[in-house]
């Protein structure tokens, strides 16, 4: 339960997508240490290779989003989102890029760990 707690906390750690992703992955590593490979796979039924791909796509897509406004690749803009719970929030597209990084980092670390773990 504690590792699941860390898993959810990892998302909100300061320091950007990279450190956040690593924190989350280490939480899953704790899960892996506590249980065996199959159990963790049942609890977290993601294919982490797909997670990596989705993250990459997010990052590239945010870069390409700036095409729509006639700006050079990777230009940042501010977007306003209205969430049902939180109200109106001002979010920079850099955050979306960070989400991409975050997903890639999680995907890659967990793919590495699971692949090595399985080959025993």
């Amino acid at each position: 339960m504690f590792s699941v707690f860390i898993f959810f906390n990892g998302h909100h750690e300061p320091g950007g997508g990279f450190i956040g992703g690593l924190m989350t992955s280490s939480a899953v590593v704790l899960l892996l240490l506590a249980y065996d490979l199959e159990t963790v796979k049942r609890v977290l039924p993601f294919d982490f290779k797909i997670v990596t791909a989705a993250g990459l796509l997010t990052a590239v897509a945010t870069g390409m989003g700036s095409f729509l406004f006639g700006e050079p690749f990777l230009s940042q803009t501010y977007d306003y989102f209205t969430f049902p719970v939180l109200g109106e929030l001002e979010l920079a597209t850099a955050l979306l890029f960070d989400i991409g990084v975050y997903l890639v980092v999680i995907g890659i670390t967990l793919t590495i760990i699971q692949t090595i773990g399985e080959d025993r």
Binding site: K49, I50, T52, A53, L56, L57, V60, M64, F67, G70, E71, P72, F73, L74, S75, Q76
Partner: protein, 494 residues
């Protein structure tokens, strides 16, 4: 159209990402990657025309001003090279569809192929020295995976050496960039060129950095004392992978030497360019010795890659406009012809089931088209007049004569002859001679393998015959290199 020049990087990158989603659906993988390679080719040709009409294209990523942000710069040299890269990437992809095998295709082969292309494209068009490093790594990491992809014993052994050498040279690259940043305080190539021009001439530390970069790019591009890793590692992976490596990877190292030695390190040419010339000559000598000595068809071709490195870098070392033009011509021609030759050798190996010349013979009886295509490609490689290798070599000789480097010209001529000898030996022993394998004993068919070879060969012949059309493009490219001020003005205009 401000974002036009990012597309050569984005197309393969996006394709690679999309391919990650469905690794097991082979048909989808093949279709998407072929379409994207074709689109890439069209876009790149369009870029060549844009650059020819409107001058150097720059794109400031994220809208930051040049020396502070990352700039992508496509001058004519970069435009020609990305086009050549796209020209070889498409047929090699088609060749691998027919030859690589389902097992490999299922494990992300096409995705890594696309990432490799993205890295190569990025390395050609970047205008920032650290960004160049990043694209080098994108390219190298994909190449590490491709070289070991499939996991045969030989591949595992050679990839270990390959990774080790490249990790070390990348570390040197970072050290070189750090030194350069400490001296000049900038990483943007145009500003580097400007600042080094304004520093005291002959500041010795700059020569040291220039040599350090020569070592780094020489390791990537297989220059004379640093070529040792290349023959074995390029002979290990399957033919299409060897083809993309032979056609593109060393060329990125050569291009980087080209770029840095024509734009950045021009302060003490008596030392640095003399050194480059000598190393180029030694590279040619070592290359032909290897090409003549070996009996293994892949090895012969791999050593010919090394010879070509010597030719192009000799052109860079002459510091004349003709020499540059010859080097550009030869580089462009060599990317295409090496791609073609590797594919044909691949088709031969498929048929004969062996890479050793002794076990081939009389292939021409059952494969006349492959045989004569190979013959034409060899003639083009050596530079028989109507074909594509001729103009580049001619201009290299002229440029060398202008610079007074007569002994290197002599070395070049002699090595051209030996290249001819080494390649024609494959033709005589492999295609002519006693028939070793009757039709029934052959190990595979050339079904589908000939078309990509024919495509590349046609392009190569067209470059040779239509040299008049290619000439103004090469002239524009050489002009930019000869007068870096044009490049600097284009990047730092405001």
């Amino acid at each position: 159209m401000t974002n036009l020049i990012i597309w050569p990087v984005l197309i393969p990158l996006l394709t690679g990402i999309l391919l990650l989603f469905a690794p097991k659906r082979v048909v989808f993988q093949r279709g998407l990657s072929t379409v994207s390679a074709a689109v890439l080719l069209v876009v790149n040709i369009f870029i060549v025309f844009t650059v020819q009409q409107q001058g150097i294209q720059t794109l400031q990523l994220g809208g930051w001003q040049p020396p502070f942000g990352i700039v992508l710069v496509t001058d004519m040299l970069a435009a020609l090279l990305i086009t050549a890269a796209a020209v070889v990437s498409l047929p090699i992809l088609v060749f691998s569809i027919y030859s690589i095998g389902k097992e490999r295709e299922r494990f992300y082969f096409y995705a890594f192929y696309q990432f490799l292309i993205a890295g190569v494209m990025g390395a050609f068009i970047t205008g920032d020295i650290f960004n160049l490093f990043v694209f080098f790594e994108v390219m190298l990491i994909s190449s590490y995976i491709l070289i070991v992809h499939g996991g045969t014993k030989k591949q595992l052994r050679e990839s270990f050496k390959y990774v080790l050498v490249n990790v070390i040279s990348s570390a040197f690259f970072v050290v070189g960039v750090a030194y350069l940043y400490a001296v000049t305080g900038t990483l943007n190539m145009a500003q580097l060129s400007e600042r080094i021009g304004s520093l005291d001439t002959g500041a010795p530390i700059l020569s040291v950095i220039a040599v350090l970069f020569l070592i780094v790019f020489g390791l990537k591009g297989a220059l004379f004392p640093l070529y040792f890793w290349l023959p074995a590692s390029y002979a290990a992976p399957p033919s299409p992978i060897a083809a993309i490596f032979g056609a593109l990877l060393t060329k990125v190292g050569i291009y980087s030497i080209f770029r840095t030695y024509s734009m950045i390190f021009t302060h003490d040419t008596a030392f640095t360019h003399q050194l480059l010339g000598i190393l180029a000559a030694l590279t040619m000598i070592i290359g032909v010795i290897g090409a003549v000595a070996h009996q293994d068809v892949k090895k012969i071709l791999v050593y010919n890659v090394i010879v070509a490195v010597g030719f192009v870098l000799f052109g860079v070392s002459t510091m004349t406009e003709t020499g540059y033009m010859g080097a550009i011509f030869y580089l462009f021609h060599d990317i295409i012809i090496k791609g073609a030759l590797f594919l044909m050798i691949g088709a031969m190996i498929t048929v004969a089931g062996s890479t050793h010349l002794k076990e081939m013979g009389g292939l021409i009886k059952y494969h006349p088209r492959l045989g004569w295509m190979f013959f034409t490609a060899v003639m083009a490689l050596v530079g028989v007049p109507p074909l594509s290798g001729f103009i580049g070599k001619l201009m290299l000789v002229q440029g060398g004569a202008e610079a007074g480097q007569y002994w290197i010209i002599a070395v070049m001529m002699a090595s051209s002859l030996l290249v001819l000898y080494s390649m024609i030996r494959i033709f005589l022993k492999g295609f002519y001679g006693k028939i070793k394998l009757e039709k029934a004993d052959q190990y595979g068919t050339t079904k589908g393998l000939l078309l990509p070879c024919a495509f590349l060969l046609t392009v190569s012949v067209l470059i040779g015959v239509g040299a008049e059309a290619v000439y103004p493009l090469a002239a524009t490219a050489a002009e930019t290199l000869y007068e870096p001020q044009i490049y600097i003005d284009a990047v730092l205009k405001e």
